[in-house]
């Protein structure tokens, strides 16, 4: 525990020996390509398949009995969408599946797909989430009567804030993004008549949830379905939903009785799969002259796309905004109204950080404006309003329960390490190359591993309960751990082994982690919400403690001791007579049961145990980010000169893995801040259809950030660990935007929209110049 242990899994992953869905070879495998809707919104009048390809092409008419994907929220007023796995009646987004084409190779399947013609009657597309809310808008789901999945209202006496001397109002927005893991989605489905079992290999974060969703759509028993998720090349939320493709291929393999495969290509990922992040805020912040917050009033709209995705639903993101916007700040008044809006775009999914990235962007940009109004350093406004360590545990205005932490200290350290005073001096002097320097800070909290008490309120198809792990000593003294979460870059084959090692003392090299297979692992909602280290780690610790207790009793017998007088240390049971290794104990249980104590636990050396933190309202990790940028106002180019992250993830199981999580999140946060955007035209066509148009940051765009760790243990979890998987992606857009705005404030330029592109900077600068001229 706490060792910077290199990841065990890297031995195969870094040598190109990982096995992903695309590496699976099954005899008789055929490939699938889909005919996808070329239009955002249209009525299907006909699907014409050339005579020679009948039998290789399947449409909704073939899929009798297959149910649409339904992800309903129990929140009052939620409107239900039904996503047919192959379109029926209407298509509601570009890329929606219309027909499935089967051939020996993908290229041939694409030839068939190209030969299928669609007779579509184009309908007006709903592409602007704000206009979609207005009466008279075209409707994505006609029977709703409007385009709003869900509206929520939350208020704590906003009237008390209205007389504040500082009142700042802005509109702020974040672009629609594609999550872009290195590996896309992929499915290989096969049916075993002997077992009467469908096996679905899928690049999935939550195999057990996928199985439940598949069983519902296919009308099968869960026991007839096995979901295997092999090595997964990044998830980030993109691999956390039930795909219509998964349902389609499951049906197809049972129909053709041979294995079938579909691998998402990059264009499908960009235009047809799922998007994230598209938020709009109309927000007013009230404050006193000294920068003390008096209240926030916000109206947030999220573009949820055409359908509600299983299991998270279409409203998780927007409705979450209302509860998480105030974050770690104290304030006496608050109001937030949210809208989850249906449009003719891909469904929106929770992406690393989920709504927090947008919320952090909105609030932290506003706090810089409050600072400017109050004539204070931005850092000072944060320090005045952040919850103080002596107030922990702290229930904020939306009753989020902060378990622990010292937020002001993180901010102070970030300001010191970025050397705010030196930057201010440098700004006064100016730059020889004509660029402008700016510094920006942001801070956030990351609620992680939130459980039953939080999710039962959402009423979505999935509510996490106890997390289970199985621990089994093998006859030769090795340890097998089975967990229902999955690892797709998080390093859990290493960190869960470290947890087990902490309890049992078994060498990490002799611990095998088995995950990603519903037939081999305990049920779990899977890996999402930065929950796995807290939940699966806690479950592994609990199971290993029980296993250790059983081993100790056998060991005591071998040493001819009373169990009360021996201890388990460093992988052996020790007493005054000597020691018995776990290997010897395992050998006794499996191979020489005649030597076991009479009252031995008949459960043996295999334990399945469940775990939940003492309180399941979540751990709260957090970080202060500080960025220094140089902005070229003529070209609109932004260079990140320095980047500091001071984070507190509680007790770290493996700081090396945590650093990796933070660096990876930072890269994605920089993408949100400066590069990534999926624009649509008025007819709903996605415009960034290749990676030449959808820009992702590369190694040159991601600076070598300086990391500093604080360690405030969570009072509620095993070892005091907290979830940290998403935080790196939450704060960078706000810190970088604040830095850009700091650099350009003397020019009266302000950017309130991500990504901050060269064109947006130059356009804002020209607008500011024009305003100055007309004022003069």
């Amino acid at each position: 525990m706490g060792a910077r242990l290199p990841r065990k899994e890297d031995d195969r992953l870094m040598r190109g020996r990982g096995q992903y869905v695309g590496d699976i070879r099954l005899a008789g495998l055929q490939d699938v390509a889909f005919v996808r809707s070329p239009l955002a919104h249209a009525r299907i009048r006909g699907i014409h398949v050339p005579e020679r390809y009948r039998g290789s092409v399947f449409t909704a008419a073939d899929l009798a009995g297959i149910k649409p994907i339904r992800a309903v929220s129990g929140l009052s007023g939620f409107k239900i969408s039904e996503q047919p796995v192959l379109a029926t009646g209407k298509v509601r987004q570009v890329g929606e599946l219309v027909a499935m084409c089967l051939a020996p190779t993908r290229a041939e399947a694409e030839d068939i797909a190209a030969s299928v013609t669609l007779d579509l009657e184009e309908l007006p597309a709903v592409t602007d989430m704000l206009k979609a809310r207005e009466p008279g808008s075209a409707l994505v789901h006609e029977h709703w009567g409007d385009n709003v999945f869900l509206e929520t209202n939350y208020e704590v006496d906003i009237s008390g804030a209205l007389d504040a001397p500082i009142k700042v109002t802005r509109e702020i927005s974040t672009a629609r993004q594609c999550m872009s893991p290195l590996e896309g989605r992929g499915v290989v489905a096969t049916f075993d008549p002997r077992l009467d079992q469908l096996t679905l290999h899928s690049a999935a974060q939550m195999p057990h949830i996928t199985r439940s969703g598949l069983a519902e759509c296919l009308g099968m028993e869960e026991g007839q379905i096995r979901v295997i998720s092999p090595d997964v090349g990044g998830g980030f939320g993109h691999k956390g939903i039930l795909l219509p493709e998964e349902v389609c291929l499951s049906w197809l393999t049972m129909r053709c009785r041979h294995p079938v495969r579909w691998l998402e290509d990059r264009r499908e990922h960009l235009v047809a799969s799922s998007n994230c992040r598209e938020h709009h805020y109309k927000i007013t912040v009230y404050a006193d002259r000294d920068g003390t917050l008096r209240g926030i009033d916000c109206e947030a709209t999220v573009d949820s796309g055409a359908y509600s995705s299983y299991p998270f639903s279409a409203c998780l993101e927007a409705a979450q905004v209302a509860s998480i916007l105030p974050g770690p700040y104290k304030m006496p008044a608050y109001r937030c109204r949210t809208f989850s809006v249906a449009t003719n775009k891909c469904p929106i999914l929770p992406y690393r950080g989920v709504a927090r990235t947008g919320v952090c962007f909105a609030l932290e940009l506003m706090l810089d404006l409050v600072a400017a109004e109050a004539g204070l350093e931005p850092g000072e406004v944060r320090l005045r309003n952040l919850v103080r360590p002596e107030q922990m545990p702290f229930d904020n205005i939306t009753r989020k329960h902060f378990d622990s932490g010292d937020y002001p200290e993180a901010m102070r350290r970030a300001l010191a390490q970025i050397d705010i005073d030196a930057i201010r001096g440098r700004q006064r002097k100016g730059e020889a190359d004509g660029r402008r320097i700016g510094v920006g800070v942001s801070i956030y909290c990351e609620q992680a591993a939130h459980g039953t008490s939080v999710y039962s309120g959402w009423g979505i198809p999935m509510v996490p309960g106890h997390e289970q792990a199985s621990a089994r000593l093998t006859p030769d003294g090795g340890l097998e751990l089975r967990v229902g979460v999955h690892s797709h870059g998080q390093g859990m084959e290493t960190t869960l082994a470290q947890v087990a090692h902490e309890i049992l003392g078994v060498d990490v090299a002799k611990i095998r982690i088995i995950l990603g297979d519903t037939a081999m692992t305990p049920y779990s909602t899977g890996t999402w919400g930065s929950r796995s280290m807290v939940m699966a780690g806690g479950a592994v610790a609990t199971a290993c403690r029980e296993l250790g207790e059983r081993a100790l009793r056998i060991g005591a017998k071998l040493l001819q001791h009373d169990p009360a007088s021996v201890v388990l240390q460093n992988g052996e049971v020790r007493g005054v007579n000597g020691s018995a290794s776990l290997k010897a104990i395992a050998h006794t249980w499996y191979r020489r049961p005649q030597d076991l104590p009479a009252d031995v636990d008949p459960g043996g050396l295999e334990v399945t145990q469940g775990y939940k933190p003492v309180r399941d309202s979540g751990t709260f990790s957090y970080a202060a980010h500080a960025a220094v940028v140089a902005v070229d106002p003529d070209l609109g180019e932004v260079e990140i000169l320095d980047y500091v992250i001071v984070e507190d993830g509680g007790v770290l199981v493996n700081p090396l893995v945590v650093d990796g999580q933070i660096y990876g999140g930072l890269a994605q946060g920089i993408g949100t801040a400066l590069y990534e955007e999926m624009p649509f035209d008025a007819s709903g066509q996605p415009l960034a259809t290749t990676l030449a148009d959808y820009l992702l940051p590369g190694p040159i765009e991601v600076p070598a950030a300086r990391l500093d760790h604080m360690e405030t243990p969570s009072p509620y979890t095993q070892f005091g660990v907290k979830g940290i998987g998403e935080g790196g992606a939450i704060a960078p857009p706000a810190a970088i935007a604040n830095a850009v705005n700091d650099a350009l404030r003397p020019l009266d330029v302000e950017l309130m929209q991500s990504p901050i592109t060269p064109h947006r900077i130059v356009a804002a600068m020209l607008a500011a110049r024009a305003a100055e001229r007309s004022a003069a």
Binding site: A107, T690, P697, E701, P758, V762
Partner: protein, 278 residues
Amino acid sequence: MKPAPFAYERPRDFTAALSMLAARSGSAKIIAGGQSLGPMLNLRLVQPELIVDISGLAELKRAEISGGELVLGALVTHADIEDGRTADVTRGAMRGVAANIAYRAVRNRGTIGGSLSHADPAADWISALAALGARVTLRGLAGARTMPVEAFVLGALESALHTGEIVEAVHVPARSATAHWGYAKSCRKTGEFAHAIGAVLIDPAAASARIVIGAIDTTPLVITDAVELFGGRIAADYKQRFDVRVADALLAKAGIDDAAQRHIHVSVLRRAVQEAAA
């Protein structure tokens, strides 16, 4: 993203290649480095019946100085130029351009002839070579013809190549001892296509300049009579005399309505002028 079916040939001699192209009358595509055609095939933006792979044609790989100018075969790669494996008559200008084309992996395979043939407005060579005053030779079964690069590029992804013709070579004139060179571009990230290119060859001693504004939606603006950009006179103080308003007006006339886009183009061009004067 798999290509539609196509036939593939890899001829060993130039005439055979030209014959194959002529026989297919327009349904064939040439592949050399494949850095643009590869993705276009996979996206099915092009669906040729035949791909003629010319990468085996040794006569297109030569690079030599002949009659005071550099003749580069169409198959010379960006990396060949970047690494100095080819002769140079531009005193490093071409090497500097080559070194900043896309990524090294692209430069290893991408060819100068392929880049010109593809005629992507955002690519480097069509702007840089136009500023350097280069010419391009096209060859078909009927013979060869040579034209200035700016006459070769007709529009976005549109060149003067006739059906059955291949870019054979690029002829780059020697840069005079008094000519200053500047090249600047703006890319949203390293290795991406440029959103603005400025290429300038200014010879104050001869009072002449070739100015190119590239990476606009259509063919680059090549200004050979550039005195207006410098207040009516090209002299040693050209950097101070550079007139952004004239450049802006040229872009507006070329149909670029967006003021921010024009501002970025003009700023990039000013960088190129400043680099030339440095």
